[in-house]
């Protein structure tokens, strides 16, 4: 009992650390770790991960919002899509079989690993965009040479991808940061710093939208959630501090290998019905 709890705490700590260092979040590591290493039922693993995701997102957002990177208006507008998606995803979670969730999870892991290597698109001057202006989806953020202004593009496409990000979050108990960043930097052409930090800021609200439904379903097991939440939170806070000091590229390769391995294992376990 104590051994199990300390092992889960330690694993969650490393999941949070790696999640923060690579920007993918702790959820994508802790769910497969709990399911594959500790043989925890996937639904308990997803529930515990979702709660830890609320903690880390809100914890990291404290600094990002204060320093003016996260855009509260853009975040709020897109949260309409992610929260609706998250409620839908949480409902789906009860209807989709566990092996199928495992396979979807594995595919999402592979996508996340791939996306962490993709170059952010070049930042080009943004043409006027009537819808974005009406919704005030603009702002500026601190850079080396003063404040840089930006304006969102392709608003409907970004909104649509955010809805999918919400569904994945509610279905898999993860922040789905990789999909959120895709919506913001590739579709809406927002600066990389703004899209990653605003994505992080949104994750807490998105996860809170499915958490209520998870609670009602009995996915939240207090004795498991406690070490996962505390471990992931501590790990991600340390990760955020280390991020300024250590070289990330090497780490990204190591982490991507881990993610790909977990993804393949999840797909295999799902396909052979071992989840």
């Amino acid at each position: 009992m104590i051994e199990f709890s300390s092992a889960v705490l330690l694993t969650s700590f490393f999941a949070g650390l790696l999640g923060a260092l690579t920007g993918l979040g702790g959820g994508v590591v802790i769910v497969p770790a709990l399911a594959l290493l500790f043989h925890v039922d996937l639904r308990y693993a997803i529930g515990a991960s979702l709660i830890s995701v609320i903690a880390t997102s809100s914890g990291a957002a404290v600094a990002y919002v204060r320093e003016g990177f996260s855009n509260v208006r853009i975040g709020m507008f897109l949260e309409v899509a992610t929260t609706l998606g998250a409620v839908g995803g949480a409902y789906l979670a009860a209807r989709v079989s566990t092996p199928a969730i495992g396979i979807i999870f594995g595919v999402t892991l592979l996508y996340s690993a791939w996306s962490s290597f993709r170059e952010p698109p070049n930042e080009t001057p943004h043409p006027p965009n009537a819808l974005a202006e009406k919704l005030k989806l603009s702002g500026d953020y601190p850079a080396d040479n003063g404040r840089v202004a930006y304006l969102a593009q392709n608003v409907p496409a970004g909104f649509g991808i955010m809805f999918i990000a919400g569904i994945l979050s509610g279905l898999l108990g993860i922040g789905s940061g990789a999909v959120k960043v895709l919506a913001m930097d590739h579709a809406m052409k927002l600066p990389f710093k703004v899209s990653t930090t605003t994505s992080n800021f949104m994750i807490g609200v998105t996860a809170a939208a499915s958490a209520g439904i998870y609670l009602g379903r009995g996915y939240i097991a207090p004795g498991l959630v406690a070490p996962v939440m505390l471990g992931v939170l501590a790990g991600s806070l340390l990760g955020a501090r280390l991020l300024v000091r250590i070289r990330v590229p090497v780490l990204r390769v190591v982490f991507a290998v881990v993610i790909v391995a977990l993804g393949v294992e999840m797909i295999y376990s799902g396909a052979t019905g071992r989840l």
Binding site: M1, I2, R43, V80, G139, V205, G212, R217, G218, G223
Partner: protein, 123 residues
């Protein structure tokens, strides 16, 4: 471009999130310490899903449990406080946008708040 009012809102959100996460983490830590101290032998079974649509997560049983020093109830309170943190943040945004007379964003943040409250209270 960011107005004075927006900057003030950002600072308030930042403080609110820090307070919420710190309090929730402290309550969960306290509950979990008690949980481990009270635990004897084998722990609960997480290998198989029991799927009890737990009435224990409603506020009344949680407070009832805390009165009896039930560690799970203390952890549940911490979890509820954590889920409430982003909900409070959105509620605060509705208020801030109203003060700024930004009608579009009062509407947008009210929609988000409605979805969150629906999910939280529908059980």
């Amino acid at each position: 471009m960011a107005s004075e009012a927006d900057l003030k809102m950002d600072m308030a959100i930042s403080r609110m999130l820090r307070a919420g996460v710190s309090i929730a983490a402290f309550v969960v830590l306290a509950g979990w310490s008690l949980y481990l101290w009270q635990a004897h032998g084998v722990g609960p079974d997480y290998l198989h899903f029991h799927g009890v649509p737990s009435p224990a997560d409603r506020l009344t049983p949680v407070f009832e449990g805390i009165r009896h020093l039930d560690s799970s109830s203390i952890i549940r309170l911490g979890i509820l406080l954590l889920i409430a943190t982003p909900i409070m943040r959105v509620a605060f945004c509705v208020y801030s946008f109203a003060v700024q007379k930004d009608k579009v964003y009062v509407l947008i943040s009210s929609v988000v708040l409605t979805v969150l409250l629906y999910s939280f209270f529908r059980r």
